[in-house]
Amino acid sequence: MTKADLVDAIFEKVGLSKKEAQDIIEILFDTIKQTFKEGESIKISGFGTFNVRKKLARRGRNPKTGEDLEISPRRVVTFSVSNQLKHEIEKLDV
């Protein structure tokens, strides 16, 4: 599934044109991105929580060349699935 499928889903559910549905998808993910940039987490009940975490610099290695290098400090987004969705997923056949 890609953004195009989300656009189709919105097009069918809401009385919007494809172009409008496309724009609103972009605005939605931009708004989420902006929120992360401010360091704020986002909780979608029944789905999960996105957290922004700060990572300190650390030593690492290029797995291809074996070369030692420093991994710069950075911010990452982690996702933790809601209990409800986690349980639904665990019930799926492996």
Binding site: V14, I32, K33, F36, F47, R75, V76, F79, I89, L92
Partner: protein
């Protein structure tokens, strides 16, 4: 930030869309992602990130309270990997 605050923020940015319509849009997005995942599909939101299910092998674990050994069966877990554009947006100073 909660879903309702997100809906408000998105709704403010779009002229001609009611809060109610925005709510349906946001619900539809996360419901569609959920539904696709449950069908075993991988989700790729370009610039944002990917969601996919991984299968975890069974393992022996311990009840930390009683020390008792328990079998954890095969199970699926949800993984999110942030996209390149998002990573760059968060790490450009």
């Amino acid at each position: 930030m909660t879903k309702s605050v997100l809906i408000e923020k998105v709704s403010e940015k779009i002229e001609g869309l009611t809060k109610n319509q925005t709510e349906i849009v946001v619900e539809t997005v996360f419901d569609s992602i959920k539904k696709a995942l449950m069908e075993g599909e991988k989700i790729e939101i370009r610039g944002f990130g990917n969601f996919r299910l991984k299968t975890r092998k069974p393992r022996k674990a311990r009840n930390p309270k009683t020390g008792e050994s328990v079998d954890v069966p095969w199970k699926k877990v949800l993984y999110f990997k942030m996209g390149k554009a998002l990573r760059e947006a968060l790490n450009s100073d």
